[in-house]
């Protein structure tokens, strides 16, 4: 099924809407960093409450506008073990990649140009259920997508009133942050 894209304008007015285009499903599509253009709310997998590009756009915008992240992009990642996500009918999960305004752990190192490291963000709905198998599947898929397994990712849990809470998920045991 080809996902349908609904484009809404920024300041919501009733009748300036509704043009459907089809989404690009290239391996690493870039949606650009321009938030104004980026207001497309995708409607890819509504039945799948877990992972949804609609939420990915909202989370990306939240990181951009509220938390002042940079270099944000949205990625459709082919799931290596789709059985962990039975409701995912196009076999892809949607993740956000971006750079925080400053490093998130004092022990982190900076990239060569002095900017903080990029982080993977997995947008999900707060009311959904999760499992070890799903986490393994996401890390596995990211490993296949970028060639190396990330040590951690952020889970962005989105609630319908636009509350987003961000939590780190580290692969394996790590020493907890000392606050």
């Amino acid at each position: 099924m080809e996902p349908r894209l609904t484009v809404a304008s920024d300041t919501v007015t009733p009748r300036s809407t509704a043009s459907a285009t089809s989404a690009s499903t290239k391996s690493r599509p870039s949606f650009g960093s321009d938030v104004v253009k980026d207001r497309a709310y995708n409607a890819a997998n509504p039945r799948n409450n877990l992972i949804n590009s609609d939420i990915a756009y909202r989370v990306k915008q939240n990181l951009d506008l509220h938390h002042l992240w940079t270099d944000l992009s949205i990625h459709r990642v082919e799931v290596v073990s789709p059985e962990a996500f039975p409701l995912l009918d196009d076999g892809q999960i949607v993740l956000v990649l971006g750079r925080p305004p400053d490093k998130l752990y004092s022990s982190d190192s900076y990239d060569q140009d002095g900017s903080p490291k990029e982080e993977w963000i997995l947008p999900v709905r707060t009311e959904s259920k999760w499992s070890l198998k799903r986490w393994v599947s996401v890390f596995e898929s990211l490993a296949a997508y970028q060639g190396v397994r990330p040590d951690r990712m952020l889970m962005a849990m989105y609630t319908e009133d636009s509350t987003v809470v961000y939590y780190f998920v580290h692969w394996g045991l790590i020493n907890p942050r000392k606050n």
Binding site: V12, D34, Y41, L65, D102, E160, T163
Partner: protein, 355 residues
């Protein structure tokens, strides 16, 4: 002084206008006349008055089978202010609670940003966290043996400082319009329960379909929010709880940050912290099903610790769910088929209860 300011800004607990009768002084003819005018003519004139309604837009996402509501949000500045100030409805999509993004962003983008006036709670947090981060970085340096004293300010700098007070990003260009003013990219987003309460119970808001521009009627909205019409559908169960607390005067807000369903404020966030954290649990007529759905003590202990740690009392709000519901019931009849029952849960410390 402060309290009165707040009272002036947040004058009403609901976005509904109330016209109270003036005090009646029987031996003062002017007072009597004014009272009679208020009592008799105001209701008469009221019928001819055109009241301003609020407008919200609903985003749907659609697949080959059906449509699902993705968000319901208010876009106009006036409506956002109204909903926040009269009852604390909704949440700024780019703010922690009330929509202050434009204000914050304008300030941030002002080149001369030496001013220190605090306009939003987010700034307080940002400051606190920046100070904290500074300390942490300092401590890390101490641990690495770079400096010996964490209070040594010379060696302590955050990344922003090192990169030369870089307060703007490439992305920020897109935030301004042609005149250089910050665009209103923030909306006030409502929970589905809030939206339904405003549309159905208060009848103060018109919700339009963001794609077609059509007005969404209350029954149609209900159908979208609970497509399966099962009696224990999470929308209706949560709405029953939301409506219950709103109707008893509480300001009800989302509690996901604390791992609960709702927070109850006596008046609202600017006045005081929420006093209760509510967990919604459906309750069935089949007791064996309730037995199966019992939560364990680890769960309650954890939630209670989070909620109790921020000085709130945990409320388990059970919603008795009817065996079946019918689309032909009025919304009111439907809501009356449910029943709410509460239990409060608090930590008890023996040594503090001895004397």
């Amino acid at each position: 002084m402060k309290k009165r300011n707040l009272n002036a800004i947040y004058h009403s607990p609901l976005p509904v206008e109330v016209v109270a009768l003036p005090p009646l002084v029987p031996h003062n003819p002017i007072s009597v006349a004014y009272y009679v005018y208020q009592l008799v003519f105001v209701p008469f004139l009221w019928g001819f008055k055109r009241r301003r309604r609020l407008t919200a837009y609903m985003e749907l996402y659609t697949d080959s089978v059906s449509s699902y509501v993705s968000s319901i949000a208010v876009g106009s500045y006036e409506d956002m202010q109204e909903l926040w100030k009269a009852g604390f409805f909704g949440k700024g999509t780019q703010s922690r609670s009330d929509p202050t993004w434009v204000l914050r962003t304008s300030k941030r983008l002002q080149e001369a940003s030496g001013e220190t006036e605090i306009v939003a709670p987010e700034e307080v947090t940002a400051r606190r966290r920046a100070a904290r981060k500074k300390f942490k970085n300092a401590r890390a340096l101490v641990e690495q043996g770079v400096v010996s004293n964490p209070a040594d300010p010379e060696k302590v700098e955050t990344n922003e400082e090192r990169r030369g007070q870089k307060l703007t990003r490439a992305e920020d260009m897109a935030l301004r319009d042609s005149e250089g003013k910050v665009r209103q990219l923030e909306k006030l987003q409502l929970t589905f329960q809030e939206a339904f309460f405003l549309a159905y119970a208060l009848d103060i808001i018109d919700i339009y379909d963001g794609r077609t521009g059509d007005l969404v009627t209350v029954p149609y909205l209900l159908g979208l929010l609970m497509p399966d019409w099962s009696p224990d559908n999470s929308f209706i169960v949560n709405y029953v709880v939301y409506h219950h607390y709103r109707s008893h005067g509480w300001c009800v807000r989302n509690g996901v940050k604390f791992g609960v369903d709702y927070l109850l404020y006596k008046r609202g966030p600017p006045f005081s912290h929420a006093e209760f954290g509510v967990i919604v649990i459906p309750l069935y007529s089949d007791e064996s099903k309730n037995q199966l759905m019992r939560r364990d003590w680890y769960w309650s202990s954890g939630v209670n610790r989070v909620v109790g740690g921020v000085k709130k009392t945990m409320v388990l709000c059970y919603v008795k769910v009817p065996d079946c519901i019918d689309k032909w019931h009025s919304v009111e009849e439907l809501l009356k088929m449910y029943e709410v029952r509460e239990v409060v849960l608090r930590r008890w410390i023996p040594s503090r209860n001895r004397d």
